[in-house]
């Protein structure tokens, strides 16, 4: 057994987007040896770097949203664990991970309160016209035109939560305090949950005044908030999305919003970020945010703790936290 002085810090391969150095990299580097192709000098392609180190890599830290494809995985024959940096894992080829028996962990519950806070912020903003009201004041229209047009009350609104996971539960807890009436759709009914469950999103929409998208993006959930669902929600319906852009048929959403067929929308995510459909920019009843539901320092602190704990657990053969079931 190696002594403490001789033991090398364990190797962790890092896969990150260019120009994005995650905030706690230097602290991780005190405990692990981080191998990062984007730091290589002279510069080396990811493909070549991965191949060169493949014999010694058992764990990959994937700094979101860098995709992990089957091809990339094929360069790492001894990979056992992918530590994700986000709640979403739709950028990882899970089928291949299943086939190769590679474990994947995600951000788990670390992000949930912040995402829930933003979902509520978006809903209040849309119904009460917060951003629009601020624009009115800034443009000097309060003095010139008088009273700002009325918004709509939150209390008593029926809110349908699409996916009652960790984020969905936190959203429900918050909205209940505003007097909203909660119901949900998820893969399976949850017997311990007091809210009405709808088997599909269409039925949920029929019985809701607002839909909140906060579930994982998978093949089943892609475009689940479809034209039919949004039409069922109706002209006074509000759509909030803090999940993934592709949960919603974005083209249809834009068409309905532009045509006045929905009361409004609050969106943190889009199908082709950072591209946002320009037709939305001239709408007063839409609130847009640049995928920043988790962009608070507290979130990153929680994430750092979780990632560090999982890496240490892996290298000491202890149980991992927030393992993704797939």
């Amino acid at each position: 057994m190696a002594t403490v002085e001789e033991e090398e810090p364990p190797l962790v391969l890092v896969h990150r987007p260019p120009n994005f150095n995650f905030p706690f990299k230097h602290r991780l580097q005190t405990r692990f040896c981080l191998l990062d192709p984007l730091d290589s000098d002279p510069p080396e392609s990811t493909h070549s770097f991965f191949s060169r180190h493949s014999a010694s890599i058992r764990v990959l830290l994937c700094v979101d949203p860098t995709p992990i494809t089957r091809d990339l995985l094929s360069l790492l024959p001894f990979l056992q664990l992918i530590v994700g940096y986000s709640a979403g894992v739709d950028h990882i080829d899970l089928d291949e991970c299943r086939r190769r028996n590679i474990t994947v962990t995600n951000a788990g519950k670390a992000f949930s309160p912040d995402v829930a806070d933003l979902a509520v912020a978006l809903l209040i903003d849309v119904l009460r016209r917060v951003s629009a009201g601020f624009r009115y004041v800034r443009a000097g229209l309060w003095a010139r035109n008088g009273e700002f047009p009325l918004g709509f009350k939150l209390g008593g609104k029926r809110v349908g939560i699409v996916g009652l996971g960790s984020v969905g539960s936190e959203i429900a807890k918050r909205l209940e305090s505003f007097g909203c009436v909660i119901s949900y759709n998820s893969r399976r009914k949850k017997p311990s949950v007091p809210f009405p469950w709808y088997e599909n999103v269409y039925d949920l929409a029929v019985n809701s005044d607002a839909l909140v998208g906060c579930c994982a993006l998978t093949e089943e959930t892609r475009h689940m908030i479809s034209k039919d669902v949004m039409t069922a929600l109706g002209k006074e319906g509000v759509i909030i999305n803090v999940g993934r852009g592709a949960l919603i048929d974005e083209k249809e959403l834009v068409r309905l919003l532009v045509g006045g067929e929905l009361r409004g929308a609050g969106l943190d995510v889009f199908e082709n970020e950072p591209d946002v459909p320009q037709e939305l920019f001239s709408l007063d009843n839409v609130v847009l945010s640049p995928h920043c539901a988790v962009a608070t320092p507290e979130c990153f602190d929680a994430l750092e703790q979780l990632i560090t704990a999982n890496l240490e657990a892996f290298f000491s053969n202890k149980p991992l936290q927030s393992v993704v079931e797939f």
């Binding site: 309160p113 912040d114 829930a116 806070d117 933003l118 509520v120 912020a121 978006l122 209040i124 903003d125 119904l127 009460r128 016209r129 917060v130 951003s131 009201g133 601020f134 009115y136 004041v137 800034r138 309060w142 003095a143 008088g146 009273e147 700002f148 009325l150 918004g151 709509f152 009350k153 939150l154 209390g155 807890k173 918050r174 209940e176 305090s177 505003f178 007097g179 970020e273 950072p274 591209d275 946002v276 920019f281 609130v287 847009l288 945010s289 640049p290 995928h291 920043c292 962009a295 608070t296 320092p297 507290e298 979130c299 990153f300």
Partner: protein, 313 residues
């Protein structure tokens, strides 16, 4: 009742105006070119005044209307009504409590979230196309932050209930301690400000509470603290607040009310840590209708000699 003269102080709600027009002889004060002439001409027929947060019934108006029996306010705040004068002359006063409590509390939380999470700035960022060039900066978490409430009345309690759902520890200052709540009481606003991250003004405006948030309180709240005002503009020493915000001595502010509405200090427009709203606390379709019905209900009850629905005096 069509012969009863009702003076509406300012435009406030088309439905209310319509209904008053139907049921009474409605005088729209804002349309009157010569106010003193008007008042002397109609002094014998005006028996009710309908006011709101912007205009009510001051001593001068009350003195000019010897037949005035009731002032029905389209608001819960009574700071625009000379209550002492009304009491002296036996004039009834009603307001619109309870129906607007939830909306105002909802907006307080909406302002907190918008300020802490820079929501309006984020929206501008996306619309300007800047997202294509890079991510927006980190903002601040709301969940778990310490919320301090000035005034634990109906609205203050409703704000506390909502903030609790975000796991926020709640503390408060009010005229008297409320031991039945489990929230932490501070005997002064300065102490409250020093011990919270977000300070919310939710008390009524009286002589005692004018400028209750002054330089000392602003300093105690500090560079990481955020001020939220859904009460009345004069609760805050506005020039002090403006300089504190411009000089970054305070973390941010969400303001729905101002000292001289509809004027809003333009120095605030260039800041990225403020959200400024045009007094929309109770501004929803649903609640304004409820408020209007309450005003109408109170006036009807008075003139039919029935008990008032929501009397203050």
């Amino acid at each position: 009742m069509e012969s009863i003269g009702v003076l509406m102080a300012c435009p406030m709600n088309p439905y209310l105006e319509q209904e008053l027009d139907k049921r009474f002889t409605l005088h729209r004060f804002w349309k009157v070119p010569e106010k003193s002439t008007f008042l002397s001409t109609h002094s014998n027929s005006i028996r009710a005044v309908v006011g709101n947060a912007f205009a009510g019934a001051d001593a001068q108006l009350i003195e000019a209307l010897p037949k005035l029996e009731i002032v029905a306010s389209f608001s819960v705040g009574l700071d625009k009504i000379d209550l002492a004068k009304c009491k002296e002359k036996g004039i009834r006063v009603t307001n619109t409590p309870d129906v607007l409590t939830e909306d105002v509390a909802d907006l307080a939380i909406g302002l907190i979230l918008a300020v802490l999470r820079n929501l309006c700035e984020c929206d501008r960022y996306v619309r300007s196309g800047k997202w294509k060039k890079g991510s927006y900066m980190l903002t601040t978490k709301f969940t778990g932050k310490r919320v301090g409430i000035i005034g634990l009345g109906r609205i203050g309690m409703a704000i506390a209930k909502r903030a609790e759902a975000f796991s926020c520890p709640i503390s408060y200052h009010s005229r008297t301690e409320k031991p039945e709540t489990k929230y932490k009481y501070y005997p002064s606003v300065v102490e409250l400000a020093a011990n919270c991250d977000i300070l919310v003004i939710a008390c009524s405006l009286t002589e005692e509470t004018r400028h209750i948030v002054n330089r000392k309180v602003i300093d105690a709240l500090g560079a990481e603290g955020v001020l939220i005002n859904i009460g009345r503009g004069p609760h805050v020493d506005e020039p002090e607040l403006v300089s504190a915000l411009v000089e970054r001595r305070i973390g941010g502010a969400g303001l729905d009310v101002f000292e001289h509405e509809p004027e809003v200090p333009e120095e605030l427009f260039g800041l990225d840590n403020v959200v400024l709203l045009p007094h929309v606390g109770s501004g929803t379709v649903e609640t304004r209708k409820d408020m209007a019905d309450l005003v109408l209900g109170n006036l009807e009850a008075h003139f039919l000699k029935k008990p008032l629905l929501t009397p203050v005096i």
